[in-house]
Amino acid sequence: MPTIDRRLLYHFDWTVLSLALALCGVGVLSVVSATWGGRHHGLDPLVMRQLVWVGAGSALMIAAALLDYRALAAYAYPFYVVAVGLLIVVAVAGHSTGGSRRWINLGVLNLEPSEIAKLAVVLVMVRYLREEPPKGGWGLTHLLIPAAMLAVPVALVLKQPDLGTGLILILITATLIFVSGLNWRVMAALGLAAMLAAPAAWHYLKPYQRERLVSFINPQSDPLGSGYHIIQSEIAIGSGGKWGKGFLKGTQARLNFLPEQTTDFIFAAYAEEFGYFGSMALLALYAALIARGIWIARHARDRFGALLAIGFTGVIFWQVAINIGMATGMLPVVGITLPLVSYGGSSLIAMMIAMGMMISVNMRRYLF
């Protein structure tokens, strides 16, 4: 363990820590409510497990904060290799539930390597992009290596299938490439190409292929009819109204009308019980955390630190945007967790470590 400069503690970022813990608190409350079986049944074991994850996550967050982020650069590529290796292990010997193979059974916990892959991809991209781009920004040729490094985990994740994580990996890489200095013209050209390609590709698909694509996007589509999840989620959120139905009183979640109420649709369960003001408060917590991340990026001492902060802030933002967009019916259903709130050890711990690294960047902006 490296020696700790006393000034470090003085500059410890309590804002990120408290926002992260507040979000974890919202998560625990929502898991309690969604699994509440009445006074006689008490707390679900899920709640205890989530509390353990929060505790472990907090410890790891502080550990990550104390670690000098500059040292991470050296471990970026090996870490990436390990993460890809775990994804391969999942593909070969993964534990499957509900038709998808996402977990490695470690006895005490089911490790979800795609969550580790998020951290690894951020690290490896930041490691590569920390170099100053040439004049005019990154050209197409510069993007070949990041694209290749992205393609491997994305392909493995999509194979599981886990479109949500694949999407996040792509979005976060794109964000980092943009911020680190993508040539405007290349960006415009890529954007135009994507815009033209998407409808054209859809147009040339046969109906059964389109259907396949839809069911690929939403592998757990309900037999009661497509859109069932979305409808139930919108009902849950809307029925909350201004002030919500109250803690433990959300019928949509409690009576199981809401699917995936502790993970992908936990936002709906929360919004049902705490209403518009509750969801605004939650949104405000995320906005504050994201704003803090951006602030850290702008005040970071070096490009590596700044991009690291942008990378983790980006993960938070994209997951929040897609998760809430999906729960409110603005986006199709893809399995993406609500960071720090959804039930699940791997995702929670990965996020806490990311926050720790962000704190680490902030703590060290005065050190030379």
Binding site: K135, S180, L182, L255, Y276, V320, I324, T328
Partner: protein, 631 residues
């Protein structure tokens, strides 16, 4: 220069700051959109979505109310409800549905139960919602189900009330029947649900709102797979109110038995109130078969039966009144002073009018005849003369005033009005002028004239009570379940006819002699000790060929005339007025007369006449002009 500057700027190495700022603006724009969407869902659409959430979790279990009972005027039950057993199955509770259904079918001796479950599922049955697979189980079936409970997971017995008509076909047309509510009914009746019972005919239909009560319900919270978790709220059902009718069970029975297997109708009313004491229509049907759910074949049989058992002849059968119409002529003539009691005509057995002979029923004629004897002996020629004197419109005005040719206002659907012709009517109906010869047919209640038995009964009652036309009613009172009266039905006066007492006395006196005089046509209704006033009639079914005198018994049944008999008694202070028709029975005196007599006798046996009874009420205004209508 400008070109160079552009190059210079574009060649610069991008710095992080502006890019982070650009990213930040995108991020906060996206978060703002999310906040806007939440405002839309949670504030703007809150009401609709909250309702959907409740519909998700709350299932309403309806508890139909017990239908009200029906009593006769002396509080004896006519209609009640009895338990009916149904077999229901919750398919989700049966691990092996095919086996369970096979066992159930064997036990009940029925088939195709899968189809009922499939049908219910097709109609969107939620999970764990029971399906009724067999209704109206017989007792052995109930016992079989009870004793094999363990082999039938998911199957249970359910008891529901079934309408029960205690005396089968007794007063069937008046009581009516119930059936399952139709899709068409559901459109206009928001309180009804699929499978509810509704009155379809007769009193059951007219008094549906009274009898039905209010369905109760339970709000049950269910989870996403439909398991019942708890009851949130219970609204108890309110049983329907009971109805106390004006009919007398014994009198009704007597009337129906007296008509027997013949087709016909009888209406007995209290002339002082308009309350119906008995209303019979034969042939009849058994309303219980509707309560059990009538089979299509049984329904077809009922509707295609040539004797029309579903028709309530008392209000839907329209027949020429025949000679009973001479009562109308007599009142009209005396009030109009066209004829006096001493006016005499000569009856040679027929008269010539135009180029046609109009016959009297009595071939040899009645000789010189005045009004009294013309009524008693039912002389046609006398009334041909009277009719000519009066003209059709005067006759029509009085007939209308006496309630003929128009609906009586009884609270039953599909009442027929009948026809009282007049010059106006003919102009409207045929766009033709009235021929004086037609007045002759009208005067003896033939031709275009048609009335219902109920109308004739009300006419008899009006003559009996001194000129008050009541609206016939068959309900006296509505009682709550505990027997307290909720609503009374006082008599309703439809019109006061200002008929001179002398006129009425003369007509009544003649009607008494119809029964008691040696040459009267209504001997058959003679009762010892009670003065019965009556008039016979014969309603022609087919017009006789010119000059022919066919013997009734030589005709096929369906061409034979209908026999009428109207009566009231006691003549000086009437308590009962009756009209009876027996279809295709020939002369009314011999066919309908004995029926009326039996009903009268039964009535006076049940309600012995008391000498102290006040006479029929005197007319309200004796000096009024002789206009028939004052409503």
């Amino acid at each position: 220069m400008a070109r160079f500057a552009f190059r210079e700027r574009s060649r610069k190495v991008p710095r992080l700051g502006p890019r982070i700022a650009a990213l930040a603006s995108v991020i906060f724009a996206v978060l703002a959109i999310a906040a806007g969407r939440l405002y839309y869902l949670q504030i703007i659409r809150h009401h609709a979505l909250a309702e959907m959430a409740d519909r998700n979790r709350i299932r309403i279990l309806r508890l139909p109310a017990l239908r009200g009972l029906v009593f006769d005027r002396r509080h004896r039950p006519l209609v009640d409800t009895k338990p009916s057993f149904q077999a229901v199955i919750v398919p989700e509770d049966s691990p092996d549905l095919t086996v369970t259904i096979a066992r159930l079918q064997k036990l009940l001796g029925v088939e195709n139960l899968e189809k009922k479950i499939d049908d219910a599922d097709d109609q969107g049955r939620p999970d764990f919602e029971p399906v009724i697979v067999a209704e109206h189980l017989e007792w052995p079936q109930v016992v079989a189900l009870e004793s094999h409970q363990l082999e039938l997971p998911g199957v249970s017995l359910q008891v529901s009330p079934q309408r029960h008509y205690l005396y089968d076909s007794l007063a069937a047309h008046l009581l009516g029947y119930v059936g399952e509510v139709t899709l068409k009914d559901l459109d206009r009746l928001p309180d009804y649900r699929m499978g509810d019972e509704i009155g379809k005919f007769g009193l059951e239909r007219s008094l549906e709102a009274t009898l039905r009560g209010d369905a109760g319900g339970q709000e049950i919270e269910v989870d996403a797979i439909g398991r019942r978790l708890r009851m949130l709220r219970e609204i108890p059902e309110r049983p329907g109110d009971s109805i106390v009718m004006t009919i007398d069970l014994d009198l009704q029975r007597t009337a129906e038995a007296a008509i027997g297997d013949r087709a016909g109708a009888l209406v007995a009313v209290d002339p002082n109130t308009g309350y119906i004491l008995a209303m019979a229509s034969r042939p009849a049907f058994d309303p219980n078969i509707f309560a059990e759910g009538i089979s299509p074949s049984a329904w077809k049989e009922l509707t295609t039966d040539p004797s029309h058992p579903l028709q309530n002849r008392a209000i839907q059968g329209t027949y020429p009144p025949g000679s009973t119409f001479k009562i109308v002529d007599s009142i009209a003539a005396l009030m109009d002073h066209s004829v006096t009691l001493s006016t005499s005509y000569y009856c040679p057995g027929g008269i010539w009018f135009g180029n046609r002979e109009y016959r009297c029923w009595r071939k040899q004629g009645h000789g010189n005849i005045q009004l009294h004897r013309a009524i008693v002996e039912s002389c046609d020629v006398f009334f041909y003369e009277v009719g000519q004197r009066l003209g059709v419109d005067r006759i029509a005005a009085w007939a209308h005033a006496l309630g003929l040719g128009r609906k009586s206002g009884i609270a039953l659907d599909n009442e027929k009005g009948g026809v009282i012709p007049s010059t106006d009517w003919k102009e409207r109906r045929f766009h033709e002028r009235w021929y004086p010869a037609e007045t002759l047919s009208v005067a003896i209640g033939q031709g275009y004239v048609s009335v219902t038995p109920l109308q004739l009964a009300m006419m008899a009652a009006t003559v009996a009570n001194g000129g008050t036309l009541y609206q016939p009613q068959f309900v006296r009172e509505v009682d709550a379940l505990d027997g307290t009266a909720v609503k009374q039905y006082p008599p309703i006066v439809r019109g006061e006819l200002h008929i001179d007492p002398q006129t009425l006395d003369s007509v009544r006196a003649a009607m008494v002699d119809v029964v008691s005089a040696p040459d009267g046509t209504g001997h058959a209704a003679k009762i010892d000790g009670i003065a019965v006033a009556a008039k016979t009639g014969t309603a022609q079914v087919v017009k006789e060929a010119q000059g022919a005198r066919t013997k009734e018994t030589a005709l096929p049944m369906k061409y034979r005339d209908h026999g009428w008999f109207i009566a009231f008694a006691p003549a000086d202070h009437p308590k009962i007025a009756i009209a009876c028709i027996i279809e295709h029975s020939g002369h009314g005196g011999s066919s309908a007369g004995p029926v009326v007599k039996q009903v009268m006798e039964k009535y006076f046996e049940l309600y012995p006449p008391q000498g102290s009874n006040p006479p029929a009420p005197a007319p309200a205004n004796q000096s009024a002009p002789a206009t028939p209508l004052d409503e």
